[in-house]
Symmetry: C2
Subunit: 206 residues, 2 copies
DNA sequence: CCAAAAAATGAATCATGGTTCACTTCTTGC
DNA sequence: GCAAGAAGTGAACCATGATTCATTTTTTGG
């Protein structure tokens, strides 16, 4: 008898896989999905190109995994803000949006990659899940706000998507970096924009 | 003496060029920039691949031209709504947003391509111009509204970007087609969202 | 140390799709 | 009709970058 997978090896393989993912995440934030190449990722990991294929069936699978990984990190952060139990809903939403915006500004290429950059179908599928998770987070909060009457009635699904879109566009769209708006005030302004959109009772208050 | 460019030829060349652009526009709305291939475009035009290169230096130049072409069409439409001189500013903005949204819904792939799909640097440059034009349209209207006091004070540049982002995301983002929201109500809702965002005087009116 | 089996390697291969160019066809003025 | 020159052609070429696979290196239990 001979080779048998041992705990040591299993752990090393797991470490390698995690190492690949974390290097991929760093690369993603430098070049986006479109610039993510198997060869350069391998070099970054001190591995041969072929080795990547022992851990992921193909580039698509790898990208999906990277996507999921990044997603979990982001969603968790926002989630936390939304579930602060003692605070009123509008404040929680404002905090969540601010977190979302700050993180997006800190890693704009990643944010762009998660939100909008087009990629192969498998990653698109992953992104749809990602967006759904976000949409659900905010939509749920909005609905709770409506039922508590701290928010006016509205289509929560649509509002939550518009929230994400408004922030994404204002902060990380291709145009955003042209105008040297001070980042903090940009965040404040866009959160204000969003909050007014969902809290205002009607135009007639103009 | 011999060949000399004649009016007939000049016109025919112009017609060919326009034909290429219009076919490219159709293709764009089917497959986006990423799916736009020189060979298939040529076939669609009943031309040889090489011929395209007699009209455009390379794919990048062609895409830029297509982009500009599409842009002009879109911006003109929105512009019209914003410049209706007799109507109050908020109404004009609402109409402009509605036009924007309707057109985006009618040709979602094109809208996506113009707003967000990532492409080569030259097209990105064109997109930045496109967004700037939009941003300027809305920002100008918002500023006018502020000075007329039909809108509250706000960062007009940021608001106008957020407007576009909110609508784009709500209506044409990858997630949008998942939920079978009735198109008209989606437009109404997102315009309402935007309008409240820019017209609400403060949260305190909640 | 050995044989078995897996893991790692990286140069060669393949696929895609833009670009070129030698050649053919068309247009023009005489 | 003809020569000059442009327009049009499309198969061959090239660049990029993912994927494969024959070979080498490691690991393991005995």
């Amino acid at each position: 008898m001979a080779y048998r997978e041992t705990t040591q090896i299993r752990q090393r393989k797991q470490a390698t896989q995690e190492n690949i993912l974390s290097n991929a995440l760093t690369l993603l934030n430098e070049v986006g999905f479109s610039g993510l190449q198997m060869a350069s990722l391998a070099k970054r990991c001190n591995l041969a190109t072929g080795t990547l294929y022992r851990y992921f069936a193909n580039k698509e699978a790898l990208c999906s995994a990277v996507f999921e990984h990044a997603t979990n990190i982001e969603v968790t952060q926002v989630q936390q803000q939304l579930s602060a139990p003692e605070k009123p809903i509008p404040e929680r939403i404002a905090n969540a949006l601010t977190t979302f915006a700050k993180r997006a500004l800190r890693a704009p290429v990643t944010a762009w990659a998660l939100i909008a950059e087009p990629v192969e179908p498998a990653v698109i599928a992953a992104r749809i899940k990602y967006r759904e998770r976000y949409a659900n987070l905010f939509a749920q909060a909005i609905e709770q706000g409506i039922s508590e009457q701290s928010l006016p009635p509205q289509n929560s699904a649509l509002s939550s998507r518009a929230l994400v879109g408004a922030i994404a566009e204002a902060l990380i769209g291709p145009l955003a970096h042209q105008h040297e708006l001070e980042p903090n005030s940009a965040i404040l302004e866009s959160v204000r924009f969003c909050l007014q959109a969902i809290t205002a009772r009607s135009h007639s208050c103009v």
